[in-house]
């Protein structure tokens, strides 16, 4: 597909600048992507990676600067122009319709009127040749996150792009799925295509990328060959100083500590045709302990979180116990009043109301627990006190923002996550349940959040962390349990846990799991 053109730079960016209000999201950024290379774009959250990429894809217009495509200056005014030039993009958040098949989703974006059968055949051939197995006739709702990503990639490849932009592609994949993706990327490189790879997972950047451009606070701080760097030297470039490694001191006597969060035989019927039923889950988290729940996305973690948080209540009031009290019949507010705190996976629209200010979002989860402080007589909100509490959290978690009290949607993902986690930590909860604490969060912020969770546990709280990031769970957990198809394995003490053991459980290898291979149809 790639035309055998003369070597040279496929894309050259000179002095690209974008300003939002008073914040220079991108400040005179230079970037060159050569033909047939995998080029990493590294940077912390809010460093300007997404802004830069959006300008390359035509979703945002630069204030100044120049984009050269194959040596010719171009103006990319909208994504259509980008596609015509040969720039394709796979977004971090997929935009697929769950009730349609993979082929139908692809057809929607191609929009050239070719018959669906033809598109399905093309997609099948392409997926086969790139080693991305995909059945074009399957419903998106039935597919795992990894498979959904394949649809996005194939959709992008069908347009025969010269440059493919991937935004944090491995954040939703198992280690095995990520390996497959890397093979595909290497094949694309061999064909002479260029890839702009956005990530903050330093190990994988070192593994597959030929060159890297590092952004910090909207400015390019360096170009390098990641293979010649160490993870910590890359991290230093990104963050500006050494990333503090997360410290977890093992503690003895956890077995004797009281269980602050107990889950007993928790079951739940699937709420929608696309959700997973929960089957007889039992688990307890003791004071001082961090328990991790590993698992591939879409194996019931979201349903489990809803049930534990009280967004969905249980019929059996003893199914969830918080601080030794039955909480199954309590609402999320009732459970918070027992000392529990919750951080959901989705930041915008679940953990935070996008169009509301940070101070209002503080009130969102704490209006009941801190009623005496935040709410005055007659239900009057003490906005001055709420604002100063929000500022306290912003300072404690180093949340970066462009306005004094901005709307949640105006923050970058990582900064918003720091605020949402900080909002709960600020309460010193006795039980903390977190779903994907560092999803799409950069190294510096992730280390901060992880360390804070460990410290919360060590100060006597019970912490339950649901995550797809195995490195993270190994870093912070005292024990790891695995969720697969709505069932939870026995927790494995960290001293006995290995990547292999957990990886096998994630694939459903435990005897108790094997029988449920075809449960998706029943659901």
């Amino acid at each position: 597909m790639g035309e055998p053109l003369a070597t040279g730079n496929l894309l050259e960016v000179r002095g690209l600048t974008k300003v939002f209000g008073t914040l220079k999201a991108c400040d005179a950024v230079d970037l060159t992507v050569a033909r047939g290379e995998i080029h990493a774009l590294l940077g912390e959250n809010g460093a300007g990676k997404s802004t830069l990429v959006k300008m390359l894809f035509g979703s945002l217009e630069p204030h100044s600067g120049q984009i050269l495509w194959q040596g010719t200056p171009v103006r990319i005014t909208n994504p259509g122009v980008a596609k015509k030039l040969g720039i394709g993009m796979v977004f971090q958040h997929f935009s697929l319709f769950e009730a349609l098949t993979a082929a139908e989703n692809i057809a929607l974006s191609l929009d050239d009127g070719s018959p669906i059968g033809q598109i399905a055949a093309k997609a099948r051939a392409l997926s086969f040749s790139y080693g991305l197995p995909l059945d074009p006739d399957s419903l998106v709702g039935d597919l795992s996150v990894g498979e959904r990503q394949r649809i996005e990639i194939i959709r992008c490849l069908l347009q025969a792009p010269q440059l493919i932009i991937l935004d944090e592609p491995t954040s939703v994949l198992t280690p095995q799925e990520a390996d497959k993706l890397f093979e595909t990327l290497e094949r694309l490189r061999e064909e002479g295509k260029s890839i702009l790879y956005i990530s903050h997972r330093l190990e994988e950047v070192k593994r597959i990328c030929d060159r890297a451009t590092v952004l910090r606070h909207g400015k390019v701080v360096g170009h390098c060959n990641p293979r010649e760097e160490t993870a910590s030297s890359l991290a230093r470039m990104m963050v500006g100083n050494e990333v503090k490694a997360v410290v977890r001191v093992p503690v003895d006597g956890l077995e004797e500590a009281p269980a602050l969060l107990e889950i007993r035989n928790l079951s739940r019927k699937p709420a929608t045709p696309f959700s997973i039923p929960l089957r007889n889950i039992s688990l307890s988290v003791r004071a001082g302990e961090v328990v991790g729940i590993a698992g591939v996305a879409g194996n019931g973690q979201g349903e489990f979180f809803e049930a534990v948080s009280g967004e969905v209540r249980q019929e059996d009031t003893g199914a969830v116990r918080i601080g030794g009290k039955d909480a199954g019949a309590l609402s999320i507010t009732g459970r918070r009043l027992l000392g529990a705190a919750f951080v959901p996976e989705e930041r915008l629209g679940h953990g935070a109301a996008p169009r509301m200010r940070l101070s209002e979002n503080l009130l969102l989860s704490r209006h009941a627990t801190d009623r005496k402080t935040f709410i005055g007589p007659g239900g009057m909100v003490r906005s001055g006190i709420v604002q100063s509490a929000a500022q306290r959290i912003i300072d404690a978690m180093d949340v970066r923002k462009s306005a004094p009290d901005p709307e949640a949607a105006a923050l970058s993902g990582g900064n918003l996550q720091k605020f949402i986690v900080g909002r709960e930590l600020d309460r010193r909860p006795s039980v903390m349940v977190v779903n994907q604490p560092t999803w799409g969060v950069d190294a510096g912020a992730a280390a901060h959040i992880r360390q804070a969770l460990i410290e919360l546990a060590r100060s006597g709280s019970a912490v339950l962390v649901i995550s797809q990031d195995l490195d993270e769970l190994f870093e912070i957990s005292d024990a790891i349990a695995v969720m697969h198809n709505g069932e939870l394995s026995q927790p494995i003490p960290i001293a006995e846990a290995t990547f292999e053991k957990i990886g096998l459980l994630m694939g459903g290898a435990e005897p108790g799991h094997a029988a449920h291979g075809s449960e998706a149809e029943i659901a």
Binding site: H93, I332, P344, E360
Partner: protein
Amino acid sequence: MRVELVKRPQRSALFSALSPFIAFALTMAAGAILFLLLGINPISAFYTYFISPISEVWQLHELTIKAAPLILIAVGLAVCYRANIWNIGAEGQLIMGAIVGSAIPVMFPAFESPIVLPLCLLLGMLGGAAYAAIPAVLKARFNTNEILTSLMLVYVAQLFLDWMVRGPWRDPQGHGFPQTVMFNDSATLPALFPVAGRANWGFVFALVAALAVWILMTRLLRGFEVRVLGSSPRAGRFAGFNFNRMVFFTFMLSGALAGLAGISEVTGAINQLQPTISPGYGFTAIIVAFLGRLNPLGIVAAGLVLALTYLGGEAAQTALGISDKVARVFQGMLLFFVLGCDTLIHYRIRFVGLGAKARGESEAVPAAKLEEVH
């Protein structure tokens, strides 16, 4: 050439403020065309319509009489709409409030006491709230579409009023006219400045209600709850806010205010029940709520503007000999243009030449993506 809507990255503060004015200007332009087609000079028609009805003090009093129910109802509706709950049945709640509130003066016409009027007003609010609770129950319990149920209950209320004044509550000395007895003085809402005109306490109620709702929405936890549940229901559930409770709260609050509007109208301006007691205030208030940007203070201004269209309609009928239905046409155009112009807050208009067709279409997907991110 083709016109395209392109989503703005952020909502535009400029167009948020300008939109009602643009809408008003477009309504005027369309109105001018309408008058030209009717063979009337638009300038003199506009004068008759918008200037002559407020050129004397007593006319300003009339303006407040029309504006009071519009403002009262619209501030209640604004709370509903902010919560993403669509109460379209304020007209019915107004009528039910008027009927229930009239129970004492109609059934005990000889009962005179200073507590009669407060009781009437209270009963009126209760009547409106109770009637609004019907679509609330249906929505909370059976997830019915409140737009349909609340709207249909308007016709039920209208026919119920019609039956009441022709049947059980007809004035025995009324020569068979379908109306109740005249209310006694203690059941009459007093005028504010009797010497200058008819303006009554209803307008004061409207201003107090607007101020109270403004405090509710901007200062109180309950208002925060309304805004969260309306703008992101899932975050609202995470906050522990109960959507069903919110359905009852917003419906009954707006029902009570509509009921108050109804009983104020009956005790203040009409002084008896008739088959028709409202020229569609409950529907016009929807326009008022949107024209006022769902902001109680904006609604006060919008209420006065819409009240003027009622007065203008009456004036045009006498001075120009055109149907007072023209007022409805004006109101309809105004709502149409307001909603249309609100698009400009989130989108900008782009003109595209024919050659760019393909390019424009291929944008469909990223536009959807943007949607998702926001």
